[in-house]
Symmetry: C2
Subunit: 356 residues, 2 copies
DNA sequence: CTGAAAGCGCTTACAG
DNA sequence: CTGAAAGCGCTTACAG
């Protein structure tokens, strides 16, 4: 309703130059803060700029310099606390280095991830942090590298890609949690994840396309195997993608002949769903079933009992990814690396000690 | 470590044109999908583009067209579930309309908000959605309008600004919740918010610079007044900004002579902190203290008891803000409006009925 | 239907 | 220290 609301042509260096009675180049130098200009002329230009409310056009600046000052981030799901914390860490570190962040959501869908990557490269981001939905379909990630755009993988690693990755110490974390459960006397343990189950049960751990989940499962299975427990793969259950699916997964698990006494939840969303499933089945934690959950999500500390969790230090992960990417953008010579952020087990009240 | 990683000049329409043996203009027309080109030449150009792995430079495109296809969003705190849900709604609707979203975090700090706005305008976003940290310091928001950039306020309204705002029905929500508590027999109720307290207690509701909080407090106070309860302002407590501060606020509240029997939490973060404070004070919900919390945060449904909440339908709020902004960007003639998304009270188990 | 030229708002050598 | 000119990679009239 305001007459001034209609976009008038914005004021440019040329306008400021004219007002200050200097050349475009000179005005540009003071406005852009480069080159050398006498104090007197600087003042003149600044005054005119202020009077005209000049705002630099970053787009034009980027076109000329070839740098956008933007880091693109493709995450699985912003609503997931894991990613919102990560984004926070990424943004804080990026800002400190003078970069801004543009976020895209893949919803863990490969197609959405591909178009997000395309889009971001089209916007000429200076670098990209991506959480690959699948570690076995990576042509679009190769394209990033061929386009000459620095890339850092987040949460998941893809060795074939020869690119930096920041992840947790997923295998170790799973090993620690699993050993802890066994130490508490548990003998039948299940691992539950939201990964899409590709038709029925899991026959081959190597087929899990998300490296973080795969490594956790490997850790889980290795400990069960080393403890001489039978058929560990049987207790790895995927497909807990929503409440209904999770209810199904848990119901099947607890109604088996030898039902598990402890559950390991692959992330805090799965953990919350499991918690609700158990609640609706009338099963108590930890007396009926014990559980451990990845991520120190806020809900885990206010339940009864509070949930024993694996603290992933996600903020640090995000920060590290950002710093690494900035180093790449600035062409710091660095070997390609997988950076692991160590986790720790935080014991609270959701694991029972089983007699014997 | 890959030799291909060094950014070579990217391929442009000129390159494609040369390869396809046509003019730049013609190549640009098929690559940009505008104008008219014969089928045969279209094929030629597409083939060359594919062979060269052409990717349009969106920056250059934006420079020419004057549109970036980006919506800028400035939120208070991405880590807050309220905002991450909102961002999701904003993004989904934006994408549907062909826009992308760039998110900036103000941390509810005015300075950070100002520089975020500057930055986004510099990037020539097509429109802006902002959650103003303060409703009483709005020069930078006026600047947005003067720059001719469409703006929609989110969660908080500023009547003086004459600009669209999408908010909840904050006053009604507070009225409903407060009446409910009174209906359950409560006579001493407190409202707790994370708003910065400007030196001591609240003397004047009108001074609360966040309109959402102000309107909720107004609703709260009006119901207490209409019920003939004494000194309602006394029970409005600000400054619950972190766990420690909240512990202090709650401790003071419950150790008073006539301590409140019910608490209204201004958002889910405050609610969670209050929950923990009460827990650490050894007070039970609802037998010692009742509580109601704004936002259907995930933790509220898994506590014992589950928390009675005000469902704010934040996703819809985000969606609506996005749609409104897009309409503005596309110059749809529309009166300036405040769009209120209605809330509803979801009764769970955190409110006791008091005898009498 | 196709092409040559100008322009978007900056920065970057190159002269002076 | 200051200026005139070219260029970034597109799109947009304007001719033909």
């Amino acid at each position: 309703m305001e007459d001034s609301a209609h976009s008038k042509r914005s004021v440019t260096v040329a306008d400021v130059a004219k007002a200050a009675k200097v050349s475009k180049a000179t005005a540009a130098r003071v406005l852009g803060g480069y080159g050398v200009v006498s104090a007197k002329i600087t003042d003149q230009v600044m005054a005119s700029a202020a009077a005209l409310e000049y705002r630099p056009n970053e787009l034009a600046r980027s076109m000329s310099t070839g740098r956008s000052g933007i880091i693109g981030v493709v995450v699985g799901d912003i609503e997931n606390a894991f990613f919102s914390l990560a984004v926070r860490g990424i943004s804080d570190a990026a800002r400190l280095a003078g970069f801004n962040v543009i976020i895209a959501n893949s919803g863990e869908q490969l197609d959405a991830e591909k178009s997000a990557v395309d889009l971001l490269i089209g916007k000429r981001v200076d670098g990209l942090i991506v959480t690959p939905a699948r570690c076995d379909n990576i042509d679009h990630l190769r394209d990033i590298r061929r386009a000459g755009v620095p890339l850092v993988l987040f949460d998941r690693a893809i060795p074939e890609l020869d690119v930096d990755a920041v992840t947790g110490d997923d295998q170790d974390a799973a090993v620690t949690a699993t050993r802890y459960l066994i130490g508490q006397g548990h003998r039948r343990l299940a691992y539950v994840s939201a990964m899409d189950a590709e038709g029925g049960g899991l026959t081959d751990v190597g087929r899990i396309s998300n490296s973080a989940v795969r490594e956790r499962v490997e850790g889980f299975v290795s400990v069960l195997t080393e403890a001489g427990l039978p058929n560990p793969l049987h207790y790895v259950r995927l497909g807990a993608t929503d409440q209904q699916q999770t209810d199904g997964v848990i119901k099947r698990l607890v109604s088996e002949g030898s039902s598990p006494t402890a559950l390991l939840a692959s992330d805090s969303l799965v953990g919350l769903r499991i918690f609700k499933s158990l609640q609706s089945l009338g099963l108590s934690i930890p007396s009926d079933v014990s559980m451990i959950c990845f991520l120190d999500a806020d809900w885990t500390s206010v339940t009864v009992p509070p949930i024993t969790i694996i603290d992933q230090r996600v903020y640090e992960m995000g920060k590290l990814a950002s710093e690494r990417l900035v180093a790449r953008i600035e062409r710091t010579p660095l070997a390609v690396e997988r950076l692991r952020v160590s986790t720790r087990l935080v014991v609270r009240g959701s694991v029972a000690t089983i007699g014997r």
